[in-house]
Symmetry: C2
Subunit: 312 residues, 2 copies
Amino acid sequence: MSIAEIGEFGLIARVVSRLETGPTVLLGPGDDGAVVAAPDGRVVASTDVLVEGRHFRRDWGSATDIGHRAAAANLADIAAMGATPTALLVALCAPGDLEVGWAEELAVGLSAEAALVGASVVGGDMSSSPTLTVAVTALGDLGGRPPVLRSGAQPGDVLALAGRTGHAAAGYTILSRGFRTPKALVEAYRRPDVPYQAGPLAARHGATSMIDISDGLLQDLGQIASAGLVAIDVHSDAFTAPPHMRDAALALGVDPLQWLLGGGDDHALAATFPPGTPLPEGWHEIGRVYDGEGVTVDRKPWSGPRGWDHFK
Amino acid sequence: MSIAEIGEFGLIARVVSRLETGPTVLLGPGDDGAVVAAPDGRVVASTDVLVEGRHFRRDWGSATDIGHRAAAANLADIAAMGATPTALLVALCAPGDLEVGWAEELAVGLSAEAALVGASVVGGDMSSSPTLTVAVTALGDLGGRPPVLRSGAQPGDVLALAGRTGHAAAGYTILSRGFRTPKALVEAYRRPDVPYQAGPLAARHGATSMIDISDGLLQDLGQIASAGLVAIDVHSDAFTAPPHMRDAALALGVDPLQWLLGGGDDHALAATFPPGTPLPEGWHEIGRVYDGEGVTVDRKPWSGPRGWDHFK
C-alpha cells in the first residue's frame, strides 16, 4: 500500500503507533505541538536534513537503518554541546508511491536510536514531494552546565576523540563501488555507533571545546581552529586502521588514513581539554592545540580529502 | 551567484548575517546546536515542512514572502498550544543553481515573521536537493500555563475564531487561475496575517481546546471534534465575505463560503470556551459544541470541500 492511498492522516496514525514515548515527553504527537521537559530552563536545539541520493540511498540500507542514521546525526549534535538529548521532531517528504511500510520502518529506526539516549520522537510533519527527504530536529537538556562551544580551545590543550572515524567512510566507499563487504564497515555506514554519553561526560570534565564529527575529521577540526583562533595538530599515529579496514583499503586502492582523517559519518565527538586533565572514559588523545591557525597532521599540511561540502 | 558556487559554508555565513537575534536566544547559529531560553521548564515544539509546487511556487511570491509563510505556519502551531514562540530552526534543501540572493531573502522573511512575536531563527541546516524544500521547527514557552489541547472541548462550549479564514484560499484560487488581483487576497496568500497573541490570550481565558486552522476550517475542526469526542456545529452567518472576496468569487464562479469554511492557509486559531466565558479580545463566536460526533454547518452536513490532505 502506498502513502498516497492511505493519505496524510492515515500515515501519521500508523507511524505514531510505532513510536515509544520516554519520560521527557510531557505531551507526545497528535496535537499542534509537543511538550518536552526542559528542566534546565534552557533547551539545546539542532536540525539536520537527509536527502535521498545525497545522504542516503534506499538500496544501500533499510528504512530502519536510515531512521537510525537520521536520528544519530541529530542526537550527536546535541551530545556535542555537552547536553543530553530529550526529543526528536521529524519532517518526512516522500513521493506518493512510497510504501507505507517504508515510512513505518523509518519511524521505528528513528525511535529506536532516540531511545538509546532516553529521547523520543515527539512530533513531525509529512508532505508529498518528488524527493525523499528526512529533516530532523533534536532537542536536549544541559543539566545545569554551560554548553561546550566550538570556540573555547586554548593553545596547549589536548585534542581528544570519543568514538571512531573512518568506518562509515569506508562503508560508503565500499557501497559506492558496488560491494557489500566487509559487513562491519558497511554496517558502520548504515547505523553509526555514536558515543552519546561522551558528550555530557566531556562537559563535566572541563572540555574547552567540542564538535560532532559529521562532515570529516580534519574539516570539522577546522571549525574548532577557526572558532577558537587556534591551530590544531592531529597525530596520525593515534589512528590505526583495524585489519578489515586495511584489507578493504588495499582491495579498493585507498589509503585508510584518508578514511580515518577525512571521514565523518561515524559521528565521533572531538573535544579539547586543558593540559593535564585526566581524559574521561571513552576519550583518547589524538593531537594538540597550538598558537596559530588551521589544521595540520603531524605538524605538516594535509593533502588528502578533509571532508564534505553538501553543495559542492 | 548560485549556492553551488558559494558552497554550504559560504551560504550559511551569508544567511546567518541576515538574521536578527532576540532575547530568548542564549546561543545563536554557528555551533552544533543553539541554546534557547525555556523559562517554564518545558518547551513546546512543532515542525511543518513546505515543498515547492505543493506548498509554494517561486513565481507566486518572493523568497521573503515564502519565508514569512513558512515561519507563520510553524509559529501558529505554537500559539495554538497557548504558548509564546521563542525560536525557529530551518532546514533548507535546494538545487545547486538556486541564487544565493533567494536563500538570503528567505532568511529575511523567516526572521522578520519570527520577530513579530519576539522569536528568532537560531539554527538550521542546508543541503542540495532537486526539490526546493523548507522544513521549519518552532519552539515556544507556555509561561507556566498548561498547554491547550485539541481534546478538551465539552458539549455546550462556545466555538470561537481569532483571525480570518478564506482570504489565503481565495488568493490561492486567484493565483492558480493565472490572475494577480484583488491584491489584498493575493497578499493574504503570500503572507498570512496570523493572530499570534490570541493563542496565549485564549489560554489565560480558559480555552478548553484550540487548534491552528492550517488545512481548512471544517477539516481542522474535525480534529477538535474527534479528539474531544464531541460534535461541532459552525454557524455560517458568522462568516461574511468582504466585498473584494465576493467580487472575486463571482468572477471565478466560486461560492465564497467554500473559501471561508474550507480554506486554511490564513492560520486563524479556533478554540472552545466554557459557556458564558467573555471571549477575549480578537475572538468571536462562530459555533457551538454538542454531544455527538463530526462537524456540521447550521446543524446540517456540509457538502463542499473541507480542507487539504497533503498526499491526496
